[in-house]
Symmetry: C2
Subunit: 453 residues, 2 copies
């Protein structure tokens, strides 16, 4: 670390940092499931209180969904102001039985914090906060820093999306910092150049009024599970393309230059395949792995269910079945339009004897694609090179942060997406974790950048 | 009732009968789920003890699965001996949340007994037992009566199937009585002329080693749920036929006469469609409703699952998915062969990036198709006409009692399938029930038949 007094501060305060971080992680702030509404509110209040104590002015802004924590600390006016965006909500912890320790009872094992949200995004939000704290503790002059921490990133950001245009004065800034992304390797800090957009829904297929005996009614009643399967299978064609008519409207085939840059990200695909245990043979034929992930849209079934779920068998024709669908979108696709196309396709194709409904519709947000020639990219690259002695990698990610395109527009700020996540963190999965080393690297990056701006 | 003293006995003893029946129903003897093994054993022991007290000689015969209760009472040697077959095991009660009262805490409401197994098959076994008790109480001369009550009818009858050839001396009889079938209408006792055979399995599709983030891996990893859906959808063609190659080998198109008899069963299809809430548009095109059910095989998905099952959404590509399949077979289909064809079809078609396994394979039993010209059919028809003042209906059912064809062969007895179930009993479904009226009708039928044989 170039800055010994900040490194010393980190080491000296580490146990306290971990204790506070654990507290932050202990709130089951699952935004996708309304039974955790109270925990979301409590988590927002705790966070606002924490920032208040650091010297920020704080507001807990109400939305139609979960509250947004807004915090501001005025700084040197000549320096470019920073708006930091993050989220305090987390994914559900299911399947619970696969967790080694309870998802909301954080535990350190082998230098890693294990908990739902340990990385995504509470861990990454928290190193930003602790970096600011360290700089303030050493009376280092800072630019104006604003923080906007929402509670619905994992469920479509509907509340903040509706309110954001009215908050333009609050959020106006020069740089939009986001630490909700990953690294290609533990030793290579990575700048995310693109994110996919997002839309999703749940499809329910209804058949008989109640579960029927499959002997008495097998072959005479249309089985809703057959219809769920038929609809699910109809969503892709044999080449792996999404078969919903109009789905690709507006999607441009990437330029040679962009394809080349995307494909050349120094990612060890072999190793990643070994980590996840399968070859990367999914998706559209005709595009490379990194192109398919970074530049092409996808439609994935995230859950399917219906009928007997227990051990052994049960000979029923169930009264209903369902599937949960999410789509990752690219530049040129409007989430609302794509969602409507999907709904029309499904509703229009349903077989006689079944009834279908499309619910939980969520047009999350558009895709983001950043310029490779911006000033902020140059500054950040320089900071990383100086601090970590390595050129940052540029990465076009497949994941989404639905609010970023709108936030860019309303704040007028230039997005800078640098995060310290790794595949082994298992975000969205059981046993999510974040190493103290990654946490400290994030802390180092933030302290270095905020001093340089 | 033609026999007043037996009617009086029923009414006088009714409360005791109900109490004993409730006890029988209180055992959660779910044979499809091994966690209920103890309850199955306890239920068998209770039943044997009950029959012992009625004057039967009893054995609890062990098998590789659950025990079989065998009971015998020697009677008048000149009269045709009876072998009664039934089962004490029941279907799982899922989904539990739809039950108005607990499935294994029997409750009488509006003249109906509510419990898992209230009808199928504990209720029907129990009116047989109580009918024998009533006849014995009045010192009425009876033929030799043997009872064979197994504990794996709902899970494929594997234990009894393996042992039965060694029990031929025990089970030898003239008439094979079974009360595990239904009536076309509450006022029309019904003789079942055919049952479909049975085979089933579970298919598991495995993908990545753990649940993956669908943004990071969507479009590059093959999603196991897409594969589950693709396989499930491939099992039928557009005409509703089962698409597994060779599935229909050996199946004869029914003769004109049989088709006519099957189709002419006086079933109110309109009313039945109203009861279950859907039109009967499932299955193979080109056959009538009753033909499809009684004379054509079917393949049904009884359960499908994988990925996120909770409220809202969760953006994962899950590591696996599954489906549970059962098939109802007809004369000419060998369950073991059909199961092998299905397995080969599924295993042979699996997509790159996924691995499939076929487990819980169960070649339950062959179909049964009885002659319309047998002596026992004539006797039973006469008994029903005399006792209920109505001609019995003849019905070719779609359900299965897997062991019957083998039992017919080993015992040398002529099958007679008369039961008092109704669609409203909701067997295999939540809130299964059986009315006291149906129970009493069953009791009347058994007392009348056993006196006439």
């Amino acid at each position: 670390m170039s800055d010994n007094k900040l490194r010393d501060y980190f080491n000296h305060e580490k146990e306290r940092f971990i204790g506070e971080w654990k507290k932050f992680l202990s709130f089951p702030s699952i935004s996708t499931d309304s039974s955790y509404a109270e925990a979301c509110g409590e988590c927002a209040n705790w966070l606002a209180d924490h920032l208040l104590k650091l010297g920020f002015q704080c507001e807990v802004l109400q939305t139609k969904g979960y509250p947004v924590v807004f915090a501001e600390r005025k700084g040197v006016v000549e320096r470019p102001s920073v708006l930091f965006y993050g989220h305090y909500d987390v994914q559900p912890p299911d399947p619970l039985e696969l967790w080694r320790s309870a998802p909301f009872e954080p535990e350190i094992r082998n230098g890693r914090m294990y908990a739902r949200g340990a990385q995504d995004n509470k861990g990454q939000v928290f190193y930003f906060i602790k970096a600011v704290e360290a700089l303030l503790a050493h009376n280092i002059e800072l630019p104006t820093i604003k923080m906007l921490i929402e509670g619905e990133e994992e469920s479509g950001s509907e509340g903040i999306t509706a309110e954001l245009p009215g908050w333009s004065e609050r959020v106006t800034a020069d740089i939009l910092m986001v630490c909700d992304t990953g690294m290609i390797d533990a030793s290579v800090p990575t700048i995310t150049m693109g994110l996919r957009g997002m839309a999703g829904c749940e499809v329910r297929v209804h058949g008989p009024s109640y579960d029927l005996h499959s002997g008495v009614f097998g072959g005479i009643v249309a089985n809703p599970l057959h219809e769920v399967a038929r609809i699910a299978a109809s969503l892709h064609d044999e080449s792996g393309k999404v078969a919903v008519p109009g789905f690709y409207d507006g999607v441009e085939v990437p330029s040679m230059d962009l394809s080349k840059r995307v494909s050349e990200a120094p990612i060890d695909i072999e190793r990643l395949q070994e980590t996840v245990g399968v070859p990367f043979v999914g998706g559209e034929k005709g595009f490379g792995v990194l192109e398919r992930r970074g530049l092409r849209p996808t439609l994935e079934i995230n859950g399917i269910g219906g009928g007997y779920q227990g051990a052994g068998g049960k000979t029923v024709i169930p009264s209903s079945g369902f599937m949960k669908i999410s789509m990752r979108l690219v530049k040129g696709q409007d989430p609302q339009r794509v969602l409507s196309l999907l709904e029309s396709f499904i509703v229009g194709s349903v077989s006689e004897g079944c009834r279908v409904e499309v619910i939980e519709k969520n047009a999350g947000g558009e895709a983001l694609l950043l310029s490779v020639d911006s000033d902020i990219l140059k500054t950040a690259s320089r900071v990383i090179l100086d601090e970590f002695n390595v050129e940052p990698a540029l990465l076009w990610e497949g994941a989404s942060i639905p609010i970023i395109p709108l936030l860019e527009q309303v704040s007028g700020a230039a997005p800078l997406l640098i995060g310290f996540g790794l595949e082994e963190d298992a975000i969205h999965a059981p046993n999510e974790s974040f190493s103290i080393k990654q946490f400290e690297d994030g802390f180092r990056y933030v302290t270095a950048l905020l001093q340089r701006l």
